[in-house]
């Protein structure tokens, strides 16, 4: 038997790796991948809670999260392509037209 806190701990570690990736990386595509990693870690904790409490609602929520992640990545990658057309780079340090 695996304690529930092990799943939550793994989820927390993966989420932190995603946060550090978003904060430190400069390539917009890899930043997007880090966001996907964070979504995944939260999905893992949702499924764990669902299985340990015996309620299928948590897994239904994961289903919705996956649908939203698919929509988010399609729109996000389209935005990255549009930025690349204008700037010829995906380095977010060089995309600073909205800087104050």
């Amino acid at each position: 038997m695996i304690p529930l806190s092990y799943y939550i701990g793994l989820s927390a570690v993966l989420f932190t790796v995603g946060v550090v990736g978003v904060l430190t990386l400069r390539n917009a595509i890899v930043i997007f991948m880090s966001v996907e990693l964070m979504l995944n870690s939260v999905n893992l904790s949702l499924v764990a809670f669902s299985a340990y409490s015996g309620n299928p609602a948590g897994q239904v929520l994961v289903f919705f999260v996956i649908a939203v992640a698919a929509a988010e990545s399609a729109v996000g990658l389209a935005i990255i392509i549009a930025i690349f057309r204008n700037k010829l780079t995906v380095n977010i340090d060089e995309v600073n037209v909205l800087k104050w």
């Binding site: 990736g21 880090s34 299928p56």
Partner: protein
């Protein structure tokens, strides 16, 4: 008792598998093997959890998924990062199977590792970033702050998890709630309206993605 002997054998087998791969490069494995034995013994002593095959497999998979995640954010080439993320998604799909969530595990592989990551790889190869555009990983002040924030966040969350002690085992009904039947029943009764809204969201995403990514038709190019 028999279970425990099996667990030790499995531990040994995992160790041999992992170490024969590294032995050619590192002699560090001589340290790693006793360390793992000590780690498992401490775990057994403190947590009072009998080692079993499931727990060993979970710990190995958890370590592998964390390693894949860290490798993902430290590689310079985006294609390598994407492949490590796919590896991470597959490991999480196996963990879903441990939780008896069959449907979510399959969705994870088909939608995440299949559709979304292929989209990512398409975009990476479409943009065709040259060698000079690869990211460089230099530790500057901003990154140091980011790492410190990340470590503080990890400590905070893990502290909360440590205080969260429940001895509830997996629910007896967990075998039946992960099936397509149970999830479908919940989805189409209690969550029908969000489900329909999801279709609208996906439609909007398709239209938005096509609009954003299409080439702007200017007067000159339209005349050609």
């Amino acid at each position: 008792m028999r279970n425990n002997v099996l667990a030790q054998l499995a531990n040994l087998a995992f160790g041999i598998c992992i170490e024969t791969q590294f032995k050619l490069r590192h002699s560090l494995t001589l340290i790693v093997f006793p360390l793992r034995y000590i780690f498992f013994s401490i775990l057994e002593y403190i947590e009072g959890i009998r080692l079993n095959l499931e727990l060993i497999a979970f710990l190995v998979l958890a370590a592998a998924s964390i390693a894949a995640a860290i490798l993902m954010i430290t590689r310079r080439n985006p294609v390598t990062s994407a492949l490590y993320l796919v590896l991470n998604f597959f490991i999480i799909a196996v963990l879903y199977l441990f939780l008896r969530a069959q449907f979510i595990a399959i969705i994870q592989i088909t939608v995440y590792a299949g559709a979304i990551m292929v989209l990512f790889l398409f975009v990476i190869m479409l943009l065709n970033l040259g060698e000079d555009k690869l990211q460089t990983w230099k530790l500057n002040s901003g990154r140091t702050i980011a790492l410190l924030v990340g470590i503080a966040f990890l400590v905070e969350v893990l502290y909360t998890v440590m205080n969260f002690t429940t001895n509830v085992g997996m629910s007896p009904s967990s075998e039946s709630i992960g099936t397509v039947e149970a999830i479908g029943k919940t989805l189409y009764t209690g969550y029908l309206f969000p489900f329909e809204i999801t279709s609208l969201l996906l439609l909007t995403a398709i239209v938005g993605a096509v609009f954003l990514a299409k080439k702007k038709i200017t007067e000159e190019s339209a005349g050609e």
